[in-house]
């Protein structure tokens, strides 16, 4: 008998929900007992009744969720207090930000909890259905374009009208990972002209497959890791990139930056100087604002205006489309859960031989068993 519990998120600005009623029903069907906190999903339009109908018990007690259950599913990392409430040996699945949260991880480890970090799900074809980074980044790509378009004092598509011809807006996307590609696709749907850059040369083809132009900058050796992540650039390379992009940025109506380097602070790609070269009224969206920012001057969670250029750094992008975001995240969790759920024994089995689990399980049996993280800490 395994009790799976889902607490409310404690971050008030995030309306997403870790589990949708539809997925709760799946868990219940596969033999798990499910407990949810009252009000879970209100932000995304799911009512307590829907959860009850799906077969979950509903509690008002936030602590009970942690102390009484075998598996906790959620979006954000727990607070230290929450972590300390955890039942010994229970399983905790959520984002954990393990590279920056050594203390939290150690607390969890001390509780003998088995923790799975959603960020660490590998980027393999088989794991994609559990990959929350991808699902949320994809929505983020869409949202960033919509926000930018909504703030821009121009329209994106071309229009040849009796009142003059409006040229299509120019959009420049830096970083063509999952979010960047979706931004390109969305902006193109709206009829903009798009240029994109990424240090991984291999994505040039992907960018072009979406009808955008790839900006060629010769940075010398760059490449990508085995997992498909970008390598960090040298200072010199970064400088070259900043220079080479500057003209393109100055010409653009909208700039969207999505550059990340796995396990590192995001690179600083757009300098203040370059921002000032843009037309007043132009928009920059800094996806990475919350974790340090690709753009000089961006502030996490806020909109800044510099010389008439608006830098949007709201963060929690996918939260804007919380209903779809919740559904997707909840699907990811459910896919992960059912993949390793043993229906006969009614147990979530952590098999460290499995190539997905070996990558995303951080602590297990009182040890930080994840190689990457252990190396990072030492």
């Amino acid at each position: 008998m395994t009790l799976v519990a889902i607490p409310n998120e404690t971050n008030p600005t995030d309306k997403r929900t870790a589990m949708s009623p539809a997925n709760i029903a799946k868990l219940v069907q596969s033999g798990a007992d499910v407990l949810v906190e009252e009000g879970l999903g209100v932000g995304s339009g799911f009512s307590n009744d829907q959860y009850r109908q799906a077969g979950a018990m509903v509690t008002k007690n936030h602590e009970e969720i942690f102390s009484g259950s075998d598996v906790v599913l959620r979006i954000h990392k727990p607070t230290t207090e929450e972590a300390e409430l955890l039942k010994r040996g229970s399983i905790h699945i959520s984002h954990l930000d393990p590279f920056n949260e050594q203390e939290l991880i150690e607390t969890l480890n001390n509780r003998q909890a088995s923790t799975i970090s959603m960020e660490m799900i590998p980027r393999t074809t088989r794991a994609q259905k559990m990959d929350a980074l991808s699902s949320q980044a994809s929505l983020a790509g869409y949202v960033m374009v919509l926000q930018a378009a909504n703030r821009l004092n121009r329209i994106l598509p071309m229009m040849m009208t009796p009142s003059g011809t409006i040229k299509p807006a120019k959009v420049f996307v830096i970083g063509a990972g999952v979010a960047g590609l979706q931004s390109i696709a969305t902006a193109r749907r709206l009829g903009a002209r798009i240029t994109a850059f990424d240090t991984r040369a291999i994505v040039a083809e992907q960018v072009e497959s979406l009808g955008a132009t790839f900006l060629n900058i010769d940075l010398g050796e760059t490449g990508q890791t085995e997992d498909g992540y970008a390598r960090e650039l040298t200072a010199e390379q970064l400088n070259t990139q900043q220079q080479a992009q500057s003209d393109e940025i100055a010409k653009s109506d909208i700039v969207i930056t999505t550059a990340q380097v796995f396990g590192r602070k995001p690179p600083r790609l757009v300098t203040l100087e370059t921002v000032k070269r843009m037309q007043p009224g132009s928009i920059i969206v800094d996806m990475a604002a919350a974790s340090g920012g690709n753009v000089e001057g961006s502030i996490a969670g806020e909109e800044v205006e510099i010389d008439g250029v608006i830098i949007i750094g709201s963060g929690n992008w996918s939260g804007q489309v919380c209903r779809d975001a919740s559904n997707m995240y909840s699907n990811n969790l459910t896919n992960l859960f059912t993949e390793y759920w043993n229906e006969d024994r009614k147990l979530f089995e952590i098999d460290l031989q499995d190539d997905i689990l070996s990558a995303c399980v951080i602590t297990h049996g009182g040890e930080i068993i994840n190689e990457t993280i252990r190396k990072h800490y030492s």
Binding site: T124, T125, R126, Q128, K129, S134, S135, S138, G141, V178, L181, Q182, A185, R189, V203, E205, Q206, E208, S209, L210, G211, D355
Partner: protein, 454 residues
Amino acid sequence: MPTVILINLSYTVAAVLFILGLKFLGNPDTARRGNALSSLGMLLAVVVTLLDHAIIDYRWILLGIVAGTLIGAFAARLIAMTAMPEMVALFNGFGGIASLLVGCIALSQSQLDRFVLLTIFMSIMIGGVTFSGSLLAWGKLSEKITGRPLVFNGQRFVNGGLFLANIACGVMFVQHPEQTLWLVLTVLLSTSLGVMTLLPIGGADMPVIISLLNSYSGLAACAAGFAISNNILIVAGSLVGASGIILTNIMCKAMNRSLANVLFSGFGAASGASNKIEGDVKAISTEDAFYILEAAQSVVVIPGYGMAVAQAQHAVKELQGLLEKNGCEVLYAIHPVAGRMPGHMNVLLAEADVPYDLLLEMDDINPRMETFDVAIVIGANDVVNTAAREIESSPIYGMPIINADYARTVFVLKRSMASGFAGLDNPLFYKDNTRMIFGDAKETVNKLIRELSS
């Protein structure tokens, strides 16, 4: 004007009518008119032939014609729509035996030089093969005989021997036309040859065989024409002979087979698919692919990242339209991880204006994959990689894929044998029912469009 000139000029006209008739028969709008024209030609040819001075007694002719007309007309009227192919086979057999008989009759001509004897032999032999072959085809199709191919060891030797014996017989016949033995032997051997060659061929392949035998009966008529120096027999016979061969070829292509394969394979007799990545990669030209698509009733398109790279979405939409116009159902099967970002295929297909209703999720399409005549895999690879189902050691083992290989025929459109994102070999490419169409997906699809729309 001397009668013989009149007759022959009429023959010219009849020939023109046959030519136009055949031409018109190849186009749906004019086919019926074509058939009428060619029957007019036939009528003309028969009527003027009756003027021939060599004909002195019309009674037997009348008897034959009346009897034949009655039988033919009743058979054609009464036969069920579904039984038409076997009826055609039967008619064809009658044509064959008629040629055989005409060949025999020609033996009573005054001057019999070698050449004439040769043509007489040929009309008898081809007529005999056509006759017995057609009867067997009729039997198989109407299920009077089992439709299953009958294969035995050394079959090819036996048939080869029969054929050689037949030829030998022919040589003797030409040398010694006065010895009836050779004539009789020729008749016997050729009819057996017809039966033996058809034994290993399954009922499903019979339409192709009938078309081939039809071509033969044209040749038999043509040979008979040489034997009695008759133009119209030669023209009409060789027209049918040549167009029959072409038609046979077209029909083979529509089944994605070669004629040799049809004749000798004993298709359906033995089969045992292997699960290993072994076997041959079978490439196919767009022209041949066209014949298969053209005959397909239902097609599922499985797009992948390669469609995006090739920017083939508009062409694919166009292809869909043409197939639909051809009476074919077209659906799209979208694998969740196809492409390089979530919803990649949706972006592209929306751009090309493919209606949302036609996009099916993996779980909806897989159960009915068997019902599709053709699955067109356009630049996808990992998402149709059967290693996920078949090879336990594969890194993607257990991942749900779109089961393209369950469709009757699979076309895979890609540029090379290169692997996809996951870097894995794909056993699908080696399956019996898979055909690779190499080249840029957009160009390939455009070629298919061109074939389909002309």
